[in-house]
């Protein structure tokens, strides 16, 4: 199979696990049991380089979201390893995993998922507050300026456009300087102009701040912004392309 060939050539993973910010080794995820069991991930081995913008592509049902959820410590795997900075997340307790997400991972979702009762600023600072960490004011100000949110800080999500809300979500993900940001269809709810806007900002975060970003998308145009693209189908990696 072509996919396996390609992946053998590009990813001698087992020996170089530490070169990747995030990686999956023979990751299997089965939903349900018996006849109705679905293998959402069927032995996925893949790695994402640090300070790069990677995209996971595939049609719906390909397992791309499940892969992301396992790598981000949101979901448990049936077998295999989900590595963050070389450390296996599948063996951690729920509490430790929560702290890993809080301190080392950032999230951007399709539906923005801002808290409706908090202002933009409060939403951005939420992960830091949860961790009881003091915000780095200079970093915060820089982020807010880069993302063009300076005049929106006191607004609530209901007073902002989709593009603006997604930029707030991006700031929320970046503010903790996480090892990896996982973006799940970040442009799925946006018009084309806001989409381009958000994708440019994601790329800028990689280029200027050395941020690692892994984006799940089914949109070719969105994927074209990425440095590397992993294609999935039926729970397997079918192609891995480095830009």
């Amino acid at each position: 199979m072509l996919g396996t060939e390609v992946f053998r050539r590009f990813l001698p993973l087992a020996r170089h696990v530490n070169n990747y910010a995030s990686a999956a080794v023979d990751l299997v995820k089965v939903y349900g049991s018996g006849d109705t069991a679905v293998r959402a991930l069927d032995g996925v081995t893949v790695g994402f380089r640090p300070a790069a913008f990677s995209a996971i592509m595939g049609p719906s049902g390909s397992g791309k979201s499940t892969l992301m959820h396992c790598l981000a410590g949101l979901d448990t795997a049936t077998s295999g390893a989900a590595l963050l900075g070389g450390k296996d997340l599948t063996r951690l307790s729920d509490n430790t995993l929560t702290k890993v997400r809080r301190d080392r991972i950032g999230f951007v979702f399709q539906a923005f998922n801002l808290l409706p009762t908090l202002t933009a600023e409060q939403n951005v600072l939420l992960p830091l507050n949860m961790a009881g960490r003091k915000p780095d004011r200079a970093w915060f100000t820089q982020l807010v300026e880069v993302l063009g949110l300076s005049s929106r800080l006191s607004h609530r999500p209901s007073e902002m456009s989709g593009g603006q809300q997604q930029r707030v979500a991006l700031a929320r993900a970046l503010v903790t300087r996480p090892e990896v940001i996982f973006a799940d269809e970040p442009t799925g709810n946006l018009d084309s102009r806001s989409s381009a806007d958000v994708l440019n900002l994601l790329r800028q975060a990689v280029r200027d701040f050395g941020q690692t970003i892994v984006m799940v998308t089914h949109d070719d145009r969105a994927a074209s912004y990425a440095d590397a693209v992993v294609r999935m189908a039926d729970g397997r990696v079918v192609q891995a392309v480095a830009a």
Partner: protein, 594 residues
């Protein structure tokens, strides 16, 4: 299960109502006669059942609102495929009324079941009074139907376009319409005007024409009802200032401030839940404060009616009594006196008892003047007698033709008669003594009466009555707590995505659970605070209306305990929803539509 949440409170109220009927049945069977005092108790019970019913109806209205709001998409879809507004509303009302009917039957059945357990406590088993059962079921059914009307109609107004929206319905509006403002302010000012009116009139008139007390009490009740109406109408606008006030200590922690914004984020919902809690709390606080005040008065009246352990009448030898081991032996002489003032003339019994030497002196409360000022040509009167004669400490009156000065006036009466004179103003031999000690120590042949026994009997009756009243009100509170629980449960369901996000970006299971319980507790605290602010003035107003000559005494400790217990209960009501919220995996939560 979710469909039955709105009528849970109705079930409890129906249970409560029919239990009262059964309790009455048991008492009548075991006593065979209807004691006069019991009639009063059951009248009181009836009043509490009414309050419980009102609370239950309010709780279910607000819960119906939430349940319908969650079905907005389904309803919008029905509208989109051609259901008319009226048809949709009819459907929702029918559904609400049906669940209400089931809930009331369940409540009555539960009460009957509980009644079967009564023989275990050694009492007579109750019968099954059919007519009251039907009345309770029908009453709760009607109440539920009324409660579902407004939520059903506003839910039916949903635009068909809502069906296409993906995000959950959010109730973030704290603004209330102009009409609501106007009617709320009208009610509030009506309540205020009546309050001032009752206070002024009640305080001014010392001698009341027949029916005035009832009239003042009626006005107090109307004013209270108006105040509560104003609270419900203006509630959403009041929530955020009250929250801001009490949330200061919570703001320091992330979970605290998230809880505050969660409660403040749905002001309408918060308003209706806290209004119900406030109603319960204000009634409990008013009862406690009223009881405490009456108890203070009662204590003084007791002290005046039963000033010592023993009263020995007839000619007595003080040294002999002391030798027998009795303490505080106080002989007194009696005199019939006529007091004349510009306001009129009263004839009464007076003694020369030296009040300062009484053991229970601290139970008395001096209104004007001081007991120490007593001396020759001076007189001490009860506040009641003094006000009838237009006297206060320092004013003068003719006593049996002699000019005397009032040294002090005492709330609740003076011992052994209506007035106390100085020893130098009374002639003759002592006619009796007051003494403390055991009855058995009194030498044989003397006429002695134990005042302690009589005092205890009286005090017990009062304490029991207060305990029953507060207990019943706590049952009412239970309905409010159930309201907090179901509101929290539904608001957790509605915000599943939000909890998913919080879990994803770093809130642990335990912290999420704490967040939900804090929100539930906040409903309780906000309600309790509003209840305090309303309850205490109305307790005072009720005391004034009753024409009780006694200052208001707020039982600070008891009130504090009520507020704390309530906060704990409501936070406890959040435990189940909290567990539920914490169990959901972040992935599942993030992908839920609601």
């Amino acid at each position: 299960m979710r469909r039955f949440l709105p009528v849970l409170s109705i079930s409890i109220a129906a249970f409560f109502a029919y239990s009262t009927v059964l309790a009455k049945d048991i008492t009548e069977r075991s006593l065979a006669v209807k004691a006069a005092k019991l009639v009063e108790v059951f009248a009181l019970l009836g009043a509490f059942v009414t309050v419980a019913m009102i609370v239950a109806a309010l709780v279910s209205t607000s819960t119906f609102r939430i349940v319908f709001a969650q079905r907005m998409r389904e309803l919008a879809l029905l509208r989109a495929v051609g259901a008319s507004r009226a048809r949709l509303a009819r459907g929702l009302i029918a559904e609400g009324a049906l669940t209400g009917l089931l809930a009331s039957v369940a409540g009555v059945a539960l009460a009957v079941g509980a009644g079967q357990l009564v023989p275990l406590a050694g009492l007579v088993a109750p019968g099954f009074p059919l007519t009251p059962a039907l009345i309770v079921v029908f009453g709760s059914f009607v109440l539920t139907t009324l409660a579902v009307l407004a939520p059903a109609w506003s839910a039916a107004k949903v635009s068909p376009l809502e069906a296409l929206r993906t995000s959950a319905v959010q109730d973030t509006k704290s603004r209330i319409g102009g009409l609501r403002w106007v009617s709320g302010i009208l009610m509030a000012s009506g309540a205020g005007v009546l309050l001032v009116n009752v206070a002024v009139e009640g305080l001014a008139s010392k001698r009341r024409p027949a029916g005035m007390t009832e009239d003042l009490l009626l006005r107090t009740t109307i004013s209270g009802a108006l105040a509560f109406g104003a609270l419900i109408t203006l509630g959403p606008a009041l929530i955020s200032p009250v929250l801001r006030l009490i949330s200061v200590p919570l703001r320091r922690s992330t979970i605290g401030s998230l809880a505050v914004s969660g409660v403040g984020g749905a002001p309408r919902r918060a308003a209706s839940v806290t209004a119900v809690v406030a109603l319960g709390v204000s009634l409990i606080i008013a009862t406690l404060t009223g009881a405490n005040t009456l108890q203070g008065l009662g204590k003084a009246e007791m002290a005046s009616a039963y000033p010592a352990d023993l009263e020995i009448t007839g000619p007595v030898d003080v040294p002999v009594l002391r030798a027998a081991g009795l303490t505080d032996v106080l002989p007194y002489r009696r005199a019939e006196i006529t007091v004349t003032t510009a306001n009129g003339q009263l004839t009464m019994n007076g003694t020369d008892l030296d009040m300062l030497k009484l053991r229970d002196l601290s139970d008395f409360q001096v209104d004007t003047g001081a007991l120490r000022d007593m001396g020759p040509h001076k007189i001490i009167l009860s506040t009641y007698t003094a006000s009838r004669l237009g006297l206060a400490a320092g004013s003068q009156a003719e006593v049996n033709g002699v000019r005397m000065t009032v040294a002090a006036t005492v709330f609740g009466g003076v011992p052994l008669g209506s007035a106390l004179l100085h020893a130098s103003d009374v002639d003759g031999e002592p006619v009796g003594v007051l003494a403390n000690g055991a009855k058995e120590r009194v030498p044989a042949g003397l006429e002695v009466e134990s005042l302690t026994d009589r005092r205890l009997a009286q005090e017990n009756w009062f304490t029991t009555l207060v305990a029953i009243a507060v207990g019943l009100l706590f049952l009412t509170m239970l309905i409010a707590v159930v309201g907090v629980g179901s509101t929290t449960a539904l608001s957790v369901l509605e915000r599943t995505r939000e909890s998913g996000l919080l879990r994803a970006i770093g809130l642990t299971r335990k912290e999420l659970g704490r967040l939900v319980t804090t929100e539930a507790g906040l409903y309780g605290i906000v309600g309790a605070l509003i209840g305090l602010v309303i309850g205490i003035p109305y307790a005072w107003l009720a005391i004034i209306s009753l024409g009780v000559e006694w200052p208001l005494q707020v039982p600070v400790v008891a009130v504090g305990v009520v507020v704390l217990v309530l906060a704990a209960l409501t936070a406890g009501a959040g435990l189940l929803p909290a567990r539920r919220a914490a169990r959901v995996s972040p992935v599942a939560a993030l992908h839920s539509i609601q």
